[in-house]
Symmetry: C2
Subunit: 462 residues, 2 copies
């Protein structure tokens, strides 16, 4: 009987080898889980099954008892062992068959640095040093605001490299800029803020994220002097940030238009009554003169400075930092539900303290500057002129007609080249009228850049 | 005039060496930032200052122009350069002088594993392998739900080790259990859930976190069979989870009481109408028999399984995972504002795939079991009996009288030993009546355990 039974439930048992017990247990569990053994089904006695399968009775009894403990089976004295009654598992959708869009062969979209330039060796060396020397207690639960080691290293770095007025106690470590922005928006919202002014062109993901935290958006025009903050003195009648509680700005290198916020506008931003979130995503990469210091230093009581390792090292690290005006610190800390790895924080601190981070930035700045020069040279041979090139990893190529972007992007895709049009960064409610390509020249690996550039020129030249 | 001026603002310039420009710029910026140069202060002409300092006029002019660009200074034709008007920075509180409580010399509080057992070498080897072999695109922005490589590795591991019914597409990687819980609570709340049943004894941080997401708490009694889920059949008149929308449970090894959820209760939990969050924080560490499989497998359409690397590797990694019923996946993904490092995710995937993770667990299980045996032996020599010892990294020592805990904890602290009383885990609104110590025997480093144990015995024996 039992052998038939075992066959009828498709146990497919090969019990001749070792680990008999585990295999019997797995087979029975699977049979119950998949429904081959329905609720209420009575199982053979352990003695009967043991005889039929040629194994020890004790083994079968142990398996039964384990599965009873797990709730798959029930055992009642006198009536033997049977499959437990349970809610039938609904099948649910299969594995989300998200057909990953095949990655393009060449990619000049903005927002990602050259990932092949990640300093493997130096990063591993810092990791080795940290594990060898850091007190073991640091592998416990990290301070939700970030490890003091990293906050101290960053305070020094940010003061030195970006002119940020940073006390380690005012720094909060977050899991990349988007996480920092989400936490900041949630904190502002909980403090009563309702409206966030955003640059009319920017990352859609950032706008979405602010809205998901309950903030209304108010787009700020961006002209050749950067975002229009004030309300009165602007010639084109733009409204500015008046009426907003906070503003999200990219002062050093507007994303994606590439302009630097004019000193007059910087002062306006510093004097403005609301909270400014300064997204300093690529402030380290300034080519033609000394970096413009952070806006934060002009009004450390009003500006939340946000930086990230996503451009300087790699987005995968998910490491970012906020320098927060003291009155906002607790509200922001209260919104932190996630922290980056404490081990990674120590590695980055070691990397900064050892000078490795500065070296990496200098090397990358040189490489990106060379790429920028090749881009401008190649396009100027076609009589084209890119702007926003004083800093960062992207440039703007304005196009004459508004309908032209999508055609170009589509044509480039046919040639294995990914491009992104200016329009995909435009905030809803902003008037159209500009067309262009936002060219992320930092993204390709060094060896692929020549071809990427050639294809760009070919696509533009048609 | 200018020399006097420079001295009067305490520039302390030593301009004899190199990088004159940078030092002058820094000195001036600092002077403005700290208020030594007040708003409106007129600066010497670039020529006058250059002569006084014995440097090139061009250098001074460049510095002025840089600081004008940064908004520190203003320049008006005809009236020279002066310090910009700006909002005075409020001083704000100094560095949060959080006097870190001096770490106790010996620590038997629960919740943290032996951090000295972190597998440095194997982890670094996995990191090296990942950096050497993973496609560079993986260093970009990670999938917010987690990298497919880790989700696939975990699906295999969880099925094998914990009997979890896990499709990689249903796994969400999070930054440790607390992050997973916050995200889950936010998703449940946004789907209309109002009340979360929690075990009457558990982590206060978890309860706080659920409340911060807007959920009301309803404590569930915990008896010798684990949490009381059902409402009718329980002899002591407890109410159970009736009326709650979801329940947070620790079925494999109740935290902190240490009991395993009885098979009957497991079936009740699986049949229950609400969503169960299964906190499987130490399910890998089962000593006296095969691990009790995850509750999730009994009702994969209702149970959110939550696991973590915090006990098996180290809390610092901030790596956890949820196995989510497909209908809840999108709601949970919508709440993710942070993701752990993609690099760390690849390293853990490699560590699992290479067998290193299993080896680490086996080694740790053996070591913790030995410690548990030493604990029970030492206390039984005093005629004391600990419970909840079939699994995990902690045991419960019940004490006869309710007022005794705090005395013991205080006395132990005097001897450099940190202990934690049962009462600190009790949910508000739960009746008192039990007293005890929750002894985290996994926490000390191997070499410190003997002394920690001796001090525990001494304190108890007084």
């Amino acid at each position: 009987m039992s052998e038939t039974w075992a066959k009828s439930v498709d146990l497919h048992l090969d019990l001749s080898g070792t680990r008999v017990r585990l295999r019997l247990e797995t087979a029975l569990r699977d049979a119950v889980r998949t429904g081959r053994l329905g609720p209420g089904t009575r199982l053979p006695s352990s003695r009967a099954l043991a005889v039929d399968l040629g194994i020890a009775r004790n083994t079968v009894a142990e398996v039964y008892s384990q599965l009873v403990a797990e709730g798959w089976l029930t055992a009642r004295t006198g009536s033997g062992t049977s499959v437990a009654e349970r809610r039938a598992a609904e099948p649910g959708p299969g594995p989300a068959a998200r057909a990953e869009a095949a990655a393009p062969r060449y990619d000049l979209r903005p927002g990602v640095p050259d990932l092949s330039a990640f300093p493997d060796g130096a990063w591993l060396a810092a990791a080795r040093k940290v594990l060898a020397s850091a007190p073991r207690g640091l592998l416990g639960y990290p301070d939700p605001r970030g490890l003091p080691q990293l906050r101290t290293a960053l305070a020094g770095y940010l003061a030195r490299a970006r002119g940020v007025a940073a006390d380690p106690g005012h720094i909060v470590i977050c899991a990349g800029f988007a996480h920092g922005l989400a936490v900041t928006c949630a904190a502002l919202r909980s403090a009563g803020a309702a409206t966030l002014a955003v640059e009319a062109y920017g990352h859609r993901a950032h706008r979405d994220l602010a809205q998901a935290q309950g903030l209304r958006l108010r787009p700020l025009p961006v002209d050749a002097s950067g975002a229009v903050i004030g309300d009165a003195d602007d010639a084109d009648g733009a409204e500015g940030a008046e009426g907003a509680d906070a503003a999200l700005l990219t002062p050093a290198h507007q994303f994606p238009l590439g302009v630097t916020l004019h000193p007059r506008r910087r002062r306006e931003a510093a004097r403005w009554g609301g909270v400014v979130i300064e997204d300093d995503y690529d402030g380290e990469f300034r080519y033609d003169r000394q970096p413009v210091g952070a806006l934060q230093a002009l009004a450390p009581d009003r500006v939340i400075y946000a930086g990230t390792a996503s451009k300087s090292l790699a987005p995968a690290l998910r490491l970012g930092w906020l320098v927060v005006p003291p009155p906002l610190l607790d509200a922001i800390a209260a919104q932190l539900t996630a922290a980056p790895s404490g081990l990674d924080q120590l590695i980055l601190a070691e990397f900064i303290d050892s000078g490795g981070y500065d070296r990496q930035i200098r090397r990358a700045r040189l490489a990106y500057r060379r790429r920028r020069d090749r881009l401008t040279a190649a396009l100027s041979r076609q009589g084209r002129h890119v702007t926003g090139i004083a800093a960062g990893l992207h440039a703007l190529l304005e196009l004459p007609g508004t309908g032209t972007e999508q055609d170009l992007v589509a044509r480039a895709a046919e040639h294995g080249l990914a491009l992104e049009g200016l329009d995909s960064f435009r905030a809803p409610g902003t008037r159209t009228g500009r067309a262009g390509l936002v060219i992320g020249y930092g993204r390709p690996a060094e060896h692929a850049y020549t071809t990427a550039l050639a294809r760009l020129c070919a696509v533009l030249d048609r």
